[in-house]
Amino acid sequence: MESRTTQLAVGMFVIIGVAALLFLGLQAANTSAVSSGETYKIYAKFDNIGGLKERSPVKVGGVVVGRVSRITLDGEYYEPLVEMTISATYDEFSETSSVSILTSGLLGEQYIGLRPGFIDDTVELLKDGDYIYDTKSALVLEDLIGQFLFSQGND
């Protein structure tokens, strides 16, 4: 029976199938966050994170420097706390930096815009585990319309 080559071919077939399943599981589905390179974490509290999700990008001037790694509710008032994993290549952000939740395009995904603060002798640089206090929440369209109508009514 010419079973050796047949068995090899079937074995390869099954291996390719398992590899494809692993590709789907790891690359296409949300299983584990595989981040490459050295990173550090910084935190920020918001009033409202809108449609921000885990793995959303953190951008400085449009350039991706990290990703949102975790979103939890924190403290006795249950404020949304966002954990950001920033690439260690960019480790010169000062504590006066500010973060805001922005939207790419009119209907696009939401991301975090990080605006670096000034650096002089009196301010310190952000380290792993530090908090950014200057935050701006996501724009919620309904709130915006409500405010607009309310201000119209005052006239």
Partner: protein, 258 residues
């Protein structure tokens, strides 16, 4: 008038008898004491001719369908500035629908027709009868390994199809048209769920594998043992299996995602 009613009755009786024969064939082939040492080499042989040899057509068509999805999706999504949603669109379309369904259709054409023709010719040349003369059960020796080979091969092929298709969408969307690579994967990852999308797609392909292989074997085993009969049986395999896959897909989609 009476003739027409009689013809209708004959058609109904024939189809019921056919379904019963198909079920009996499957039960006789699959039930009974498993003989691993004897059936394993047979299974390997059939896995090779059914699964491995279908790999090329599955990979090529998966790649092109993924690329076309990427291209068409991009031209529509870019109007709304939502080209980041290309990743989830390609991935969900492939994992939920196109992967299992197109694989089943290709499988019916590539492997199902071959199975029917092979078994039909065995019957026409009385190889099946001679096996019985030698006290070898043709159902256990011929039908059963082919059934299991199709049953195992098709889900593997469907998974490969989806993976290759997503890669094709990535090639066109990210490499060619310039969608942001991080957004492509991260938006895809945030909207594709392991249980909801990937496992449901695999369940679909397992059901299709069962149905397509069963129909192909039944049509071959019960064909009229002439050249015309074999050609009719082969055609009927492809048509029946394709219709069954499309109909079942609607029912499964309604159950899973409805």
């Amino acid at each position: 008038m009476l003739d027409a009613i009689a013809r209708l009755g004959k058609a109904v009786l024939d189809s019921i008898a056919g379904a019963g024969a198909a079920l009996l064939m499957l039960l006789r082939a699959l039930l009974g004491k498993p003989q691993l040492r004897k059936s394993f080499p047979l299974l390997m042989q059939q896995m090779y001719s059914i699964g491995v040899l279908s790999l090329v057509i599955i990979i090529v068509s998966g790649l092109f369908i993924g690329m076309v999805l990427g291209l068409q999706g991009y031209t529509i999504l870019v109007d709304f500035g939502a080209e980041q949603s290309l990743g989830p669109m390609v991935a969900l379309a492939l994992l939920r629908e196109l992967g299992p369904v197109v694989t089943a259709l290709l499988f019916a054409g590539r492997a199902g027709s071959a199975l029917t023709a092979e078994i039909g010719l065995m019957k026409a040349t009385e190889q099946l009868s001679s096996l019985e003369m030698m006290a070898v059960d043709p159902l256990r020796r011929i039908i059963s390994p082919r059934f299991w080979a199709g049953f195992y091969s098709m889900p593997i092929l469907a998974v490969i199809f989806s993976a290759v298709g997503i890669y094709g969408g990535y090639l066109v969307g990210v490499r060619w048209l310039g969608v942001d690579e991080g957004a492509f994967w991260s938006v895809m990852q945030s909207s594709v769920d392991w249980n909801e999308d990937i496992l449901n797609g695999i369940i679909k392909s397992i059901v299709f594998a069962f149905v397509v292989t069963w129909i192909a074997l039944h049509k071959g085993y019960n064909c009229v043992p002439t050249s015309v009969g074999i050609s009719r049986a082969t055609t009927s395999t492809v048509v029946t299996a394709s219709l069954a896959v499309l109909g079942l897909d609607f029912i499964l989609t309604a159950l899973m995602f409805g």
